[in-house]
């Protein structure tokens, strides 16, 4: 587990690195917040509004079934949003920084 070459520490002051860290933190926190809100919203509805779950939405399909599938699909879409952002933006920023870094032989 070698430490990064000391010479690379100058990159910490690079505006591009600061920008990258800030953007990555922001999107990670936002998406974590959405995930927590969706899931604990679901849990609180279960705890306090149990009758709502048997309400029929379309034919015999109930609110509870649609909500359960909705939470699962939302979680997957959130991971998709992150991957899309990271593949398009983050990787390009990382590549520019890596090009500036001194690599050990």
């Amino acid at each position: 587990m070698s430490d990064a070459p000391r010479g690379n520490l100058r990159l910490l002051e690079d505006p591009e690195f600061k920008d990258l860290a800030r953007r990555k933190n922001r999107i990670s926190l936002q998406l974590t917040g959405v995930t927590l809100a969706v899931y604990y919203g679901f849990i609180l509805l279960i705890a306090f509004k149990r009758d709502l779950f048997a309400a029929k939405i379309s034919g015999n399909v109930t609110f509870g079934i649609v909500l359960g599938i909705g939470v699962i699909v939302t979680c997957w879409i959130l991971t998709g949003i992150y991957v899309r952002w990271a593949n398009h933006r983050y990787d390009a920023m990382v590549a520019r920084l890596q090009a500036k870094a001194i690599h050990e032989p």
């Binding site: 899931y39 679901f42 705890a47 015999n60 109930t62 939470v71 991971t79 990787d91």
Partner: protein, 511 residues
């Protein structure tokens, strides 16, 4: 012997035969520590996504959740959702830094800028305990399942537990991570494929009309049961953060070449696992309507819901196929667990603590193999000792320990500059002691096992009121980590955080 047993046995032997051939192939490519623990980092994001799904979807969750939905309705569906929501958290907070900072285990990440010996001792204890509890759950599940599914072949609980132990050791000992990965991929494809066919049969049975299916489910089954909100939230916390603290899951992120593939693998894994849990509760509702809750209970417990539905809709051949798939499922999960336990024993404790980080490749792989044998033997014993324990409760316990002992220290080490060695040890220790202690004092263990009331007396009330300790033990582990770190400032670790940031965010210097 009946038709279904023949089908089950032939699928079963086909699976064992092909996975052993795979292990033989992998064994020739497993020499260095990196090959043994991390498949030489040669797995792609797509492959790792399937393998993560195979590592995560246990027989307990497939048979258990389908059974819970079939007998109790919506309460089972809540578990389906809970087992999925940890994955986005894992993606946003853990996956990339974990891959960039570590080598083989999550302890690598925590130890990156702190004093390695105390950190590895603490982190490996959390990892090994989580693995042992989860392994016990899988062994007990395997034993019970074999008795139910292959009972007419006179297979006993003991045969099943020993058989699973031996196969698990063979996969891991000879084929390391490469064989384990492919066993998990094959199992994921079989399980998801089998569940998809079963759901198609349900819809075929109801003329492809969800209305017809759900019209036959009683209104009460469509509502969540009455439980305290604290119990609900506590279980929710354990499931969500436990996923991001399970050593066998975290270890899989080291099998891909870089952070980009790690992130892709979570996306694929979340998709497969989410799809699988939607299938699982559909199977549960299907079993409730087609087989009926009473027939399921009388056939040997709720675990039989999915197999009985398969028999009712697809006949004996499909019942046999699904039984074999359920067994393959257990093998894939226990192989992943054994590898994670062996890596904590050898990479963290032997190399990191005893040998202070200096060991030859040969020595590392040899110790990992000895660790695998030790774990395999231990798992068989635990499976025999705890054979009367409830599997779902053991899985809940493993998630609570992972969420309380492993996750807080891992997250704090990645995001917080002022985290110290003493803080990390305190966080892991508090999480470990509280999660296990409160379960012992809680309603599942205290009254029924420890303070058993004399006959005729009312049961002893629990000292801790909740079934799951996570709502107390996770915050306590974070507070312990933060307070102790503030009391023991460590300028060296703070300075190294800069270095860590470069590697964690941009992968500069990553292994």
């Amino acid at each position: 012997m009946s038709h279904s047993s023949w089908v089950a046995l032939s699928f079963f032997f086909a699976f064992i035969g092909s996975t052993l051939a795979l292990t033989y192939w992998a064994a020739k490519r497993t020499r260095t520590a990196k090959e043994f623990y991390a498949a030489g980092r040669s797995i792609t994001g797509f492959q790792n996504g399937l393998a993560l799904a195979g590592d995560y979807m246990s027989a307990a969750s497939f048979l258990g959740i389908a059974g819970l939905v079939a007998t109790k309705g919506y309460d089972g569906l809540i578990y389906s959702v809970g087992f999925l929501v940890g994955w986005p958290i894992c993606m946003f907070l853990i996956a990339e830094p974990l891959r960039n900072l570590g080598k083989f285990t999550f302890a690598d990440v925590v130890a990156y800028r702190l004093n390695p010996r105390p950190i590895r001792t603490a982190a490996a204890s959390g990892a090994i305990l989580t693995v042992l509890i989860y392994l016990t759950a899988q062994m007990v599940g395997a034993g019970k399942l074999v008795v139910l599914l292959f009972g007419e072949l006179h297979l006993q609980y003991l045969h099943a537990v020993i058989g699973v132990g031996i196969l698990m050791m063979v996969y891991v000992l000879f084929g390391g991570m490469k064989a384990t990965t492919w066993v998990q991929i094959i199992k994921a494809v079989l399980l998801i494929g089998g569940a998809t066919v079963l759901v198609l049969m349900i819809f075929w049975h109801f003329d492809f009309s969800p209305n017809a299916l759900f019209g036959k489910v009683s209104e009460e089954m469509m509502k969540p049961g009455k439980k305290s909100p604290f119990d609900r939230i506590s279980l929710g916390l354990a499931l969500m953060f436990g996923t991001a603290g399970l050593p066998h899951i975290l270890m899989r992120f080291y099998t891909v070449p870089d952070a980009k593939e790690a992130r892709k693998s979570v996306f694929y894994a979340t998709g497969w696992i989410g799809y699988f849990y939607i299938l699982t509760f559909t199977i549960g509702f299907g079993a409730a309507v087609v087989v009926g809750p009473d027939a399921i209970k009388s056939a040997g417990g709720t675990n039989m819901a999915a197999p009985l539905l398969a028999q009712a809709l697809g006949g004996n051949a499909f019942f046999g196929f699904l039984s074999a798939v359920a067994f393959a499922t257990i093998l894939a999960v226990v192989a992943g667990l054994a590898l994670a336990g062996a890596s904590a024993l050898s990479h963290d404790l032997y190399v990191g603590v005893l040998k202070k980080g200096v060991a030859t490749e040969r020595e590392q792989v040899l110790v990992a193999r000895v660790g695998t044998i030790a774990l395999g033997v231990l798992a068989v014993f635990l499976g025999i000792i705890f054979q009367n324990q409830n599997v779902a409760y053991l899985v809940g316990l493993a998630f609570a320990v992972a969420a309380s002992a492993n996750f807080p220290a891992l997250l704090l080490s990645v995001v917080w500059r002022n985290f110290t060695t003493a803080g990390a040890v305190a966080s892991t220790g508090v999480g470990l002691v509280l999660s296990i202690g409160l379960i012992i004092l809680g309603p599942d263990v205290w009254g029924p096992v420890i303070a058993v009331a004399p006959k005729g007396q009312p049961p002893t009330p629990p000292i801790f009121p909740l079934e799951n300790p996570a709502i107390v033990s996770i915050p306590a582990a974070f507070i312990a980590g933060i307070v102790v770190s503030l009391l023991t400032p460590d300028p060296v670790a703070q300075a190294k955080f800069e270095d860590e940031k470069l590697r964690s965010y941009a992968g500069i210097g990553a292994d």
